[in-house]
């Protein structure tokens, strides 16, 4: 199975890329070695890091960009909008009237047995109807050149800060690559996000207060949380900075308390509200779920969105698009075997060595078994786990992910596998897709798992402007002198009554223990 290279066909650059290829040639092997050093220095000065298994290191942006043609982008944009629209309708239905069960669209058991179906979210109706404020749709290009959806990320998709930073880094380190290209800007993302969050505020609030809620500095995406808060001009808070009173949410500040109307949270549902989820969670805010239920605050992304990006539901998304929108899916899925169906399970069990098997609950590339690369023993282990609980697994054919030339340590170029995560923002009126997205690249030869948590890198992703007039004036290296990333505006708020960790207790519950009695019929 030969992977398709997006850049070179038989060593010749594809349309639109001749000029870029020429410039790359001019930089040359030695040039790339020294530019890579400049890049590493720049990234570490900016503090752009990603935690890999607990060790902070710069997320390496490869110096050869990915380029997406105008026409292909337009299709992709339409397909992503369609998908999110359908998934919004699905979430509203699942947490509302559940018409889809009456119509037999998805097995009820599939939804109800999912750990991401949060019954506590039932009945929460967001003010502007939006639950998927931010989406990250992961795509891969197969050996035929078709872009396919690999998975949807509708909870707290991360990586958008790297999209913005990669563009700056490239402009700083390899500015000449941009010569002759009109590239759509990615810089308006924070403005789009804050506008969508304001639009999501409870009705009747004229000047809503928005905050970004982070689990804290130890989270692997903390850099991004701080980045987004700063670029949106809102406070970055942790759970202990917020509290609920009378079903409203307040922030502790040095000047007293301030009511909060929209919480852009980057913590998982399970940690959000200890009354409804993990009772020992110290990251969340007791009472916040009922504050959202009463429409006094909006939680973004919505609580319980995980049911719509569950790997077992994924296979049904094309059907959901037809059901809710009466349209055919514009973006195809990767074929997925439903392991609850005995014939499909049989097929998967006897062809494990040719398939990719993923745990339903996993994310970040952990727990994936790639058949052709797995040892006999690894396959035996996974076979045993699948037969114990088929619901926990999905299987897909191995896709030869497309490649793009990528700079190696010795300055030469070599093809490496890539995927693509475009980001979309829904403000309730329009779904806006950030032009490009995060291209992740597997830096190890032949490695097809490209998650940044698995040691991958990324590429600046260009969507060419359809205005044919040449060079993009937007890229100005001088802007970078101000060093926006070095500022330390992460607010550390000190409330007077911060709850000490050891002193949160669970209220004693009442055992139901009515005695057995002999009661005569009265």
């Amino acid at each position: 199975m030969n992977a398709l290279d997006e850049f070179l066909i038989d060593g010749i650059p594809t349309r639109d890329l001749e000029m870029l290829w020429e410039t790359i040639g001019k930089i040359g092997t030695h040039g790339f070695i020294s530019r890579a050093k400049q890049r590493d220095l720049y990234l570490s000065m900016q503090g752009i890091t990603f935690t890999l298994s607990g060790v902070e290191r710069p997320l390496p942006v490869d110096l050869v960009p990915r380029v997406i043609a105008v026409s292909e982008w337009q299709n992709l944009e339409r397909g992503i909008k369609q998908r999110i629209k359908a998934l919004e309708a699905f979430l509203a239905d699942v947490y509302g009237d559940q018409e889809l069960f009456k119509d037999g669209i998805v097995p009820k058991a599939l939804i109800q047995s999912s750990e991401h179906f949060h019954r506590a979210a039932h009945g929460i109706k967001p003010a502007n109807g939006v639950r998927i404020h931010v989406a990250g749709i992961d795509l891969v290009r197969d050996q035929h050149g078709t872009l396919r959806v690999l998975e949807d990320n509708l909870r707290s998709p991360s990586g958008v800060s790297y999209v913005l930073e990669n563009r700056r880094t490239m402009a700083h380190v390899v500015p000449e690559l941009f010569n002759g290209y009109a590239i759509r800007s990615v810089d308006e993302y924070p403005e789009r996000l804050i506008a969508a969050l304001i639009a999501a505020a409870p009705s009747g609030v004229s000047n809503p207060n928005v905050v970004v809620l982070t689990p804290g500095v130890h989270n692997s995406a903390h850099f991004e949380h701080a980045f987004l808060a700063r670029r949106m001009g809102v406070e970055l808070v942790e759970g202990r900075d917020l509290y609920c009173r009378n079903n409203k949410v307040f922030m502790r500040t040095t000047q007293g308390s301030e009511e909060i109307h929209v919480v852009y949270r980057r913590i998982d549902d399970d940690y959000l509200d200890p009354i409804h989820f993990k009772p020992d969670s110290l990251l969340g805010i007791p009472g916040v779920l009922n504050a959202a239920r009463a429409n006094n605050v909006t939680i973004a992304n919505g609580v319980g969105n995980g049911i719509a990006d569950d790997k077992a539901i994924y296979a049904y998304v094309p059907k959901l698009i037809e059901y809710y929108l009466n349209e055919k899916a514009l973006l195809p899925n990767v074929d997925t075997y439903d392991l609850k169906e005995s014939d499909q399970l049989d097929y998967v069990m006897s062809n494990l060595s040719e398939l990719v098997v993923k745990p339903v609950a996993g994310s970040g590339g952990y727990g994936i078994t790639i058949g052709p690369k797995a040892s006999k023993k690894e396959l035996e282990v996974v076979a045993k786990e699948i037969s114990t609980n088929p619901r926990n697994w999905v299987a897909q054919p191995l896709i030869a992910l497309s490649t793009i030339p990528t700079v190696q340590e010795d300055g030469t170029l070599s093809p490496r596998h890539v995927d693509l995560r475009p980001f979309a923002v829904n403000d309730g009126k329009e779904i806006w897709v950030l032009p490009g997205g995060l291209t992740r690249v597997a830096l190890v030869e032949g490695n097809v798992v490209v998650n940044s948590s698995q040691g991958g890198g990324s590429k600046d992703t260009w969507v060419l402007s359809d205005e044919t007039q040449a060079p993009a004036p937007a890229i100005e290296v001088a802007v970078l002198e101000s060093d926006p990333l070095k500022s330390d505006v992460v607010p550390q708020m000190q409330g007077p009554d911060v709850l000490p960790i050891s002193r949160l207790h669970q209220q004693e519950e009442q055992q139901q223990q009515s005695p057995n009695t002999e009661v005569k019929d009265a």
């Binding site: 097995p107 009820k108 058991a109 109800q112 047995s113 019954r119 506590a120 039932h122 009945g123 509290y243 609920c244 009173r245 009378n246 079903n247 200890p274 009354i275 009772p279 007791p286 009472g287 009922n290 239920r293 009463a294 009554d497 709850l499 000490p500 002193r503 949160l504 207790h505 669970q506 209220q507 004693e508 519950e509 009442q510 055992q511 139901q512 223990q513 009515s514 005695p515 057995n516 009695t517 002999e518 009661v519 005569k520 019929d521 009265a522």
Partner: protein, 275 residues
């Protein structure tokens, strides 16, 4: 026969030192459901708190509140007047084959899965040997008291079915969880019912001290309630508050608080037959 019952469910928490913040959810409001009619419900918290009421996924009325004045005691009183009737005798019974159809199994998937509290238990009961799902339910209802001795203190509120089953001892919560486990293992959808049981002489106006109670509903073509703790059918002396997969879905009061540890909890349920 129709009864009118008044239920006063009082919960008193006492704490070792001041509690600065407390967040709670109560599920103590009887349902307007089946043959039952809720006439009046009052819910009061001391120190005073504003109450937010909503209906949850399982169609239970929830009273949610937070108390943020420092306190060393918290009192919650739920007072209801409710009209109850003996459930209508089921008329539609299904066969094992009908029960096993994919449509039925999918429709009631939620009440067929095991949970943390309704876990797997090893039993010699062969419900499938019974002629029909209905016969299996009757058999189970008549057998549970031979398996578990009613023993307060043998288990606690977080005990799973298997624990009571191994100890052969427990209270109504355990009878209910164990019954659910056995029914679900046989493919019979079954749910947890939380409520109250009146066990006085039926004298009008006489106050009877009780506890909150739990029992089972099994799907045999329609939902059939039964009371395995007492090995008897459900009647007008049962007041339905909530239905769910297990205790966790319906717990009468849950919450968290910050400050002093809990010192003492007192729960009383007083039932009066009004007519």
């Amino acid at each position: 026969m129709t009864w009118r019952l008044k239920v006063i469910h009082t919960t008193n928490f006492q704490y070792e030192s001041e509690v600065t913040a407390s967040f709670n959810e109560a599920r103590m409001s009887p349902k307007n459901v089946d043959n039952q009619f809720l006439i009046q419900h009052k819910f009061k918290v001391t120190p005073s708190a504003s109450i937010y009421e909503y209906v949850d996924y399982f169609n239970t009325t929830v009273n949610s509140f937070d108390v943020q004045t420092p306190h060393t005691a918290l009192k919650i009183v739920a007072e209801s007047v409710v009209e109850t009737q003996t459930p209508i005798e089921p008329t539609r019974f299904i066969t094992w084959a009908e029960l096993d159809s994919q449509t039925t199994q999918d429709k009631f998937a939620e009440y067929l899965e095991l949970t943390q509290l309704v876990d797997q238990i090893t039993t010699s009961f062969a419900l499938r040997d019974q002629d029909s799902p209905l016969a299996a339910v009757h058999f189970l209802n008549n057998s549970m008291r031979e398996q578990i001795m009613y023993t307060p203190g043998a288990t606690n509120v977080y005990s799973p079915a298997s624990e009571a089953w191994e100890k052969r001892a427990g209270v109504c919560q355990d009878f209910t969880h164990a019954s659910l486990s056995i029914l679900r293992a046989s493919g019979i959808p079954a749910r947890y019912i939380s409520g109250y049981l009146y066990h006085g002489d039926g004298d009008i106006g006489e106050v009877v001290v009780g506890e909150s109670h739990s029992w089972v509903e099994a799907w045999v073509g329609q939902w059939l309630p039964f009371d395995p703790t007492n090995g008897r059918p459900v009647a007008e002396d049962h007041v339905i508050v909530a239905k769910g997969r297990d205790y966790h879905d319906v717990s009468p009061l849950k919450g968290i608080f910050s400050g002093g540890a809990s010192r003492k909890t007192e729960v009383t349920v007083a039932l009066t037959r009004l007519s």
